[in-house]
């Protein structure tokens, strides 16, 4: 591996990092702009999954070791699985967040 190759890798990892951060920014913009709680969850889960993926990829390329790359891939995989699961729980509770500050208030309003 010549120095040019390493420089290319560095630039690639920086570009991936920047793209990942852009996705995080887009997710946060969506969080602010979208009108209701479930739509905000769309923005958070999906954009942040991709953001995390790109940042992880950037880190894996930056370190350049297969062992570290495997670990980073695992982190990404578990993060995606748990965000898919928690998003289901949050989507279930989303009307609560839309209604008012606390779960019990929502239940009182909906008469359950």
């Amino acid at each position: 591996m010549g120095p040019e190759f390493l420089a290319v890798l560095q630039i690639l990892s920086l570009a991936l990092l920047a793209a990942g951060v852009l996705f995080y920014v887009a997710g946060s913009v969506g969080l602010l702009r979208f009108p209701d709680a479930p739509s905000r969850l769309h923005a958070l889960t999906k954009a942040d999954n991709v953001g995390l993926g790109l940042v992880s990829l950037a880190a894996a390329i930056y370190w350049g070791e297969p062992a570290i790359a495997a670990k980073i891939a695992l982190v990404w995989l578990f993060a995606i699985i748990s965000s898919g699961m928690t998003a289901q729980l949050l989507a279930r509770a989303a009307p609560v967040a839309d209604g008012s500050g606390s779960p019990a208030e929502y239940e009182r309003e909906s008469g359950t």
Binding site: S82, R92, S102, P103
Partner: protein, 320 residues
């Protein structure tokens, strides 16, 4: 570049802390407190302290957040509206002046101390004898063994104190039911636990093992397991133990007792209390860490969930 990142991070930390401290609603305050804890974890990463970052995110933000949210929803059930009362203007102004003075003084003192890593020069030459490459684990278990031992007892003591708040009437009741009442949410938490809890076990075991050479350790592993336990409880996979459950007591005591036993053995073998015999340091420290991880997991999960609740009158019937 890095300085700009540090400053931006610090501003975000201050902003989230400000919202967490002064926002109107209690639930929003806790949500921002958790975000604050995660950003604080990033700050620890920026400071090069990966161990602390892991502990802050998992324990500081996660477990404290769970405990506070549960406390809030219980208070809400008890009829507390969690509303905040405005303090009189005069006392607010007085407090503000006091705290401003305090902050300025503190920051002034801080700025007179040049940052520097002066103690690692002391620690580094002592580590090779231990066989432990992670200086933080080395400090925690070899040089500050007394502190760490007592700390595990503080955790236990806090749990005993929290449990002692249980009124006599509900002491013999089944423990607080933490199972999600919404069936769909419960199904999701249950499936999540059944598919992933064993993986959490492997990750925790790895964190303890790697903690002797790299960032990780009993507290971080304990927090992972405690998280799995809380989700399992929410999904109804794990039923919380009664206060007099022997299994729960063994799980809570195994760490501190192993630590104590190895410490006393060190004293009996002619050394001093908490001295590890030559050549066995690493094995013994890893053994202590595994036992501690079990107790820390049980302790953190039970602390976060809180003591058995005296049921509000209407809910008593549902609680079987």
């Amino acid at each position: 570049m890095s300085a700009a990142f540090d400053i931006l991070l610090c501003l975000m930390i201050l902003a989230t802390a400000g919202i967490a401290l002064f926002v109107r609603g209690a639930f929003a305050a806790i949500a921002f407190f958790i975000a604050f804890g995660n950003l604080l974890g990033l700050a620890w990463l920026a400071l090069g302290a990966v161990n602390v970052a892991l502990a802050e995110i998992a324990v500081g933000a996660g477990v404290t957040g769970v405990a506070l949210i549960l406390a809030c929803s219980r208070l809400f059930e008890l009829g507390d509206n969690l509303a905040d009362v405005r303090t009189p203007l005069a006392s607010r102004l007085g407090s503000a002046a006091l705290c401003l003075g305090f902050t300025v003084m503190l920051a002034g003192v801080v700025l007179t101390i040049p940052p520097g890593d002066r103690l690692s020069k002391v620690v580094a030459p002592l580590l090779p004898g231990l066989g432990i490459e992670n200086p933080v684990t080395g400090v925690l278990l070899a040089f500050r063994g007394y502190d760490t031992l007592l700390e595990t007892f503080v955790l236990l003591g806090a749990l005993v104190a929290a449990w002692s708040l249980t009124p006599d009437a509900s002491r013999r009741l089944p423990p607080t039911t933490m199972v999600m009442t919404d069936p769909t949410s419960r199904i999701v938490a249950e499936a999540f636990t059944r598919l992933l809890a064993p993986a959490a076990l492997i990750i925790a075991a790895y964190l303890v093992w790697v903690g002797s050479d790299l960032p990780g350790g009993a507290f971080q592993a304990g927090a992972v397991l405690a998280g799995a336990l809380v989700v399992a409880t929410l999904g109804g996979v794990v039923v919380l133990p009664r206060l007099d459950s022997l299994a729960a007591r063994i799980a809570l005591m195994v760490g501190p007792l192993t630590f104590l036993a190895i410490g006393l053995a060190g004293a009996a073998l002619g050394g001093r209390f908490l001295a590890y015999p030559d050549g066995l340091e690493k094995t013994l420290i890893v053994t202590i860490e595994y036992a501690l991880a079990i107790s820390i997991a049980a302790g953190l999960a039970l602390l976060a969930i809180g003591p058995p609740q005296p049921m509000p009158n209407n809910a008593r019937a549902d609680a079987r």
